[in-house]
């Protein structure tokens, strides 16, 4: 960790966004993670994404559980709402918060331990319900805080720093999210911000459960030969299916592409994603195709990255439940307690 605060001075030519903020304004306090941790790069990517989207920091809620990954919300968006839940319970707290105040942008940050072990069920249900959120798993395959035991996402056959071989099957959280009905599923790599930042931006714009599995090498315990989550291994086995070139809020896409090289996905709010194809026959709107593609390539030892699946006509939990359009804190007493006559009416409808 670093003891000094990051100096407040910034580059005099730093660009400003529509709100007049520089990306420095989206920072939190200085990271206490190990030097070189992939999580810090994801932190930087989140900062960059929020900066580029010109999000007002006070309209974002960041929630996390326990673990190295779950410490990171302290290091970004210092002026946003935050909730550090007990281990693995971030999805429930996020769901509750979202139901109470649907106007905020919800950013769930979790790790492979928090989401694939103790909070696996929580993860599953929040995805299944389609909570409108960005769910980022900072996936390093080890329990870093307890000195590097294999986590549930460690690949079978991979080697720990001490030389032990993992004999358990791994959980592929992106595959599980696809199977559970997530309407936005992506995988990326902490060492590739060019890929990661646009994905986070698109996930924030997406309405519904957006899940991003980010491989994030643990420099202290999982960056050695034999690891399948090291910088070198991920770079060598990265099989990107597409590159999210840019997203346009509502304006038409101006750049001309060769036919067949780009897939344009229009989202619920009218924003458009331009997906530059890398794997020619990959269709990011095909859930079953995506699952098959991933299975095939994972079997070959490849790590499939990119925007794996996006459902254009997505709907979130509020849509399913038909909840009131305003956040609960915006309702007055009369609206919250409509009186005994209204209760009678409800009761009658249930008889």
């Amino acid at each position: 960790m670093t003891y000094l605060a990051k100096p407040k001075f910034h580059h005099p030519g730093l660009p400003k966004n529509d709100l007049g903020f520089t990306h420095r304004d989206y920072e939190g306090s200085i990271s206490t993670l190990c030097a070189g941790c992939g999580h810090d790069s994801i932190t930087a990517a989140i900062i960059e994404a929020c900066f580029e989207l010109s999000l007002p920091p006070h309209r974002i809620a960041k929630l996390s559980g326990i673990g190295c990954s779950s410490k990171t919300p302290t290091y970004f968006l210092g002026n946003s709402h935050g909730f550090n839940t007990v281990h693995g319970r971030m999805p429930s707290v996020l769901t509750g918060a979202n139901l109470a105040n649907r106007d905020l942008i919800y950013l769930g940050v979790s790790g492979d331990g928090d989401s694939a072990s103790i909070g696996f069920g929580q993860f599953a249900h929040s995805i299944r319900r389609g909570v409108n959120m960005v769910y980022i798993v900072e996936n390093n395959g080890v329990y870093g805080l307890t000195k590097g035991q294999f986590s549930a996402t460690a690949d079978r056959g991979s080697k720990s720093k001490r030389g032990a071989i993992n004999t358990d099957s791994s959980i592929d959280l992106a595959a599980v999210a696809l199977q559970l009905g997530a309407t936005f599923v992506a995988r990326s790599f902490s060492g590739d911000k060019a890929q990661l930042v646009p994905i986070i931006k698109a996930a924030i714009e997406h309405e519904g459960a957006a899940f991003i599995d980010v491989l994030s090498p643990c420099v202290a315990f999982n960056n050695h030969t034999g690891s399948t989550k090291s910088f070198d291994y991920v770079r060598e086995h990265n099989e990107a299916v597409n590159f999210l070139d840019f997203i346009t809020p509502r304006a038409p896409i101006k750049v001309a592409y060769e036919p067949g090289t780009v897939q344009i996905v229009e989202q619920h709010d009218g924003s458009k994603l331009a997906l530059k194809k890398i794997a020619a026959d990959y269709d990011a709107n095909d859930r079953v195709g995506a699952m098959t593609f991933m299975q095939v390539h994972t079997a070959k030892g490849q790590i499939v990255t990119g925007l794996l699946y996006v459902e254009p006509e997505s709907e979130d939990l509020h849509g399913h439940l038909g909840t009131v359009a305003a956040p609960l804190n915006a309702l007055n007493e009369k609206e919250l307690c409509p009186g005994s006559a209204a209760l009678e009416k409800i009761n009658a409808s249930l008889r």
Binding site: F9, G36, V219, F231
Partner: protein, 600 residues
């Protein structure tokens, strides 16, 4: 771009902007750290080796280092480098024991130095300890040259001049005061082994307009007048004074006038206020003493009555730019303005003057009447005769004179020992890791957000009463400590070892100034547009690594790096390290012969 060769001595030298800008290449951050550590004597000696007159320069330097200071680019105001130098001089202990001893045995070579100012004294300081017999001639009774005669005592007390000149003269140097050299030819006939000319730019430019002769009694040439004031020959002036000219001499003239009875003192310049040659701080100090600076007035005539000056008639002008962008002063057409006054000080420039150098001494002059001098060796066309200071290339300043002196001393030493004067040893460079432990560095890497601290001044009423009362009181220890913390330690370099890098981006993410980028290589012009933050300051280099594992390169824009070391703190593999760069400029007194000093 090709990978940066950081072993070239100049590469990191340029990153230390202040040191690079200093003609004598004083290791500025090094001495500022010593001041912060309370090691004033050590800080003084570092200065003394480079610039010879720390106490004098700490009050009077033109400070080319300060506009260059990186702090200007990341904050606003530079570190008060000059005034911190003074702190070292003010709070040092007795350092006489640390000065070079007079040579125990002489080498039999005799060097004549014409003029007793900073250039000559530097040459003598560098040569005397090597065994040379140096004789300094000056027209004035005391040494110091323009430092003593032209800089008013309220800016530079006599005691400081005496102290620092005596450090040099006590190294066994002969000073012949009150002797003006009138003929180089006869000096050459005295069989000196080498002659150094450091006679300055002693002639003040006059203003030949109507009325000059008639009113001559109350019209004075600035530098001559200052010199007379300095030696006590003049101690009063009229109540209404006009100073013509916009340089530092003009500022000294007007402020001196205020102390000698001038109540209504004005500075009047031809061109615009912004274009004045005087340092901004000197203009400020003058205005603080209720001296208005009036611009765009061209003097046309000295008005007089019965042989006595009554005022100056000015033509009003405005600045107009022609199509080539050159500035021209054109009359506005408004009626001329008469400004009444009792005395006029003309400070419109200085000139070199070499009536004492016969044209058949082997010294060639150019069409402007300046000797032809090699800017590297300071040698004239006569192999025995060397020039330095204002007499070499026209009026500059003290710190340039010192730099010339060092260079000339090397040449004279080489020449007298039969070596080739063009064969000059390069400066020695030491680069040393500052890592002491995990997140522990041997320098203070925390960045102080403070604004520049003001130097306390003497109360104006008291200061104006006595021309010898120093106006600036200097920083006290507490202020000096605070100001020294503003230094960004630009000499502690970010050194990158590509073979250790795992491209985790930790340095990119932590860098507060967005200096570091990992990207595909390209031509410089293209690379500069592809960095994390725009690299639009073309005077600052890009530090480019070899191709890394992913075939990308690391590019660091040196421009606004705070040298905070966070890249090195966040680097998991030690690919970044903070290393102190110390360059020891070649002087005649050491590297030419003995090994260099070590890092403090």
């Amino acid at each position: 771009m090709k990978p940066t060769d950081i072993s070239a001595p100049d590469y990191f030298h340029k990153v230390v902007d202040c040191q690079w800008a200093c003609p004598a290449h004083t290791p500025v951050p090094e001495y500022i750290r010593l001041i912060a550590a309370g090691r004033y004597s050590d800080a003084y000696m570092i200065n003394w080796e480079s610039n010879v007159f720390p106490g004098i320069l700490g009050r009077t330097c033109d400070r080319p280092c300060e506009p260059a200071c990186r702090r200007v680019r990341v904050e606003k105001e530079p570190v008060a480098i000059c005034r911190l130098k003074r702190v070292a001089a003010d709070f040092k202990d007795d350092i006489k024991g640390r000065l070079p001893k007079p040579a125990t045995s002489k080498n039999g070579k005799r060097i004549a130095l014409v003029g007793g100012g900073p250039a000559s004294l530097t040459v003598a300081r560098d040569l005397a300890p090597l065994g040379y017999h140096c004789v300094v001639f000056d027209q004035d009774p005391k040494s110091g040259g323009m430092m003593r005669t032209q800089i008013p005592k309220f800016r530079l007390p006599e005691t400081v001049i005496d102290e620092e000149c005596n450090y040099i003269l006590s190294m066994g140097i002969e000073f012949v005061g009150g002797k003006r050299i009138d003929s180089l030819k006869s000096l050459l006939s005295e069989n000196w082994d080498a002659i150094f000319v450091g006679s300055g730019a002693p002639r003040g430019r006059d203003l030949d307009i109507p009325g000059r002769k008639e009113a001559a009694k109350n019209i004075h040439i600035g530098i001559d007048w200052l010199s007379s004031v300095s030696f006590g020959h003049i101690n009063k002036i009229g109540k209404r004074v006009i100073v013509l000219g916009g340089g530092n001499t003009a500022m000294d003239c007007c402020r001196s006038s205020r102390r000698l009875g001038g109540e209504d003192v004005k500075v009047i310049v031809r061109s615009g206020f912004e274009e004045m040659k005087a340092s901004p701080w000197e203009k400020e100090d003058a205005m603080h003493e209720d001296i208005p600076i009036i611009n765009f007035l061209v003097p046309k005539e000295f008005t007089h009555e019965n042989g006595k000056l009554t005022g100056i008639l000015f033509e009003k002008v405005k600045a107009v730019r022609d199509e080539k962008g050159r500035r021209d002063l054109l009359p506005t057409g408004e009626p001329d303005q008469l400004v009444p006054c009792d005395d006029v000080l003309v400070a419109v420039g200085q000139e070199n003057s070499f009536p004492w150098i016969e044209r058949d001494t082997g010294i060639e002059f150019d069409k402007w009447g300046m000797p032809k001098v090699d800017p590297k060796t300071m040698r004239s066309t006569n192999p025995k005769v060397y020039f330095g200071g204002d007499s070499a290339f026209g009026p500059k300043n003290i710190i340039w004179a010192v730099a010339h002196g060092h260079d000339a001393a090397i040449s004279i030493d080489k020449y007298c020992s039969g070596a080739d004067i063009n064969d000059r040893p390069p400066p020695t460079v030491a680069v040393l890791s500052q890592k002491m432990g995990i997140h522990e560095w041997s320098y203070d890497n925390e960045i102080a957000p403070d604004k520049r601290f003001r130097v306390p001044h003497r109360d104006k009423v008291v200061a104006l009463r006595d021309i010898r009362a120093e106006v600036e009181l200097g920083y006290d220890v507490e202020l000096a400590l605070k100001e020294s913390h503003r230094c960004l330690n630009c000499d502690v370099q970010t050194v990158f070892t590509g073979s250790l890098c795992i491209e985790c981006d930790a340095c990119v993410d932590i860098c507060p100034m967005d200096c570091i980028t990992f990207t595909e290589n390209g031509e410089e012009a293209d690379l500069r547009t592809r960095l994390e933050a725009p690299a639009i300051n073309f005077t600052q280099d890009l530090y480019v690594s070899d191709a890394l594992k992913t075939k990308r390169v690391m590019v660091k824009d040196e421009d606004v790096c705070l040298h905070c070391g966070l890249c090195a703190e966040r680097c998991p593999t030690g690919a970044w390290d903070m290393q102190k760069y110390l360059i020891d400029m070649t002087h005649a007194d050491h590297q030419c012969r003995a090994p260099a000093r070590s890092a403090a």
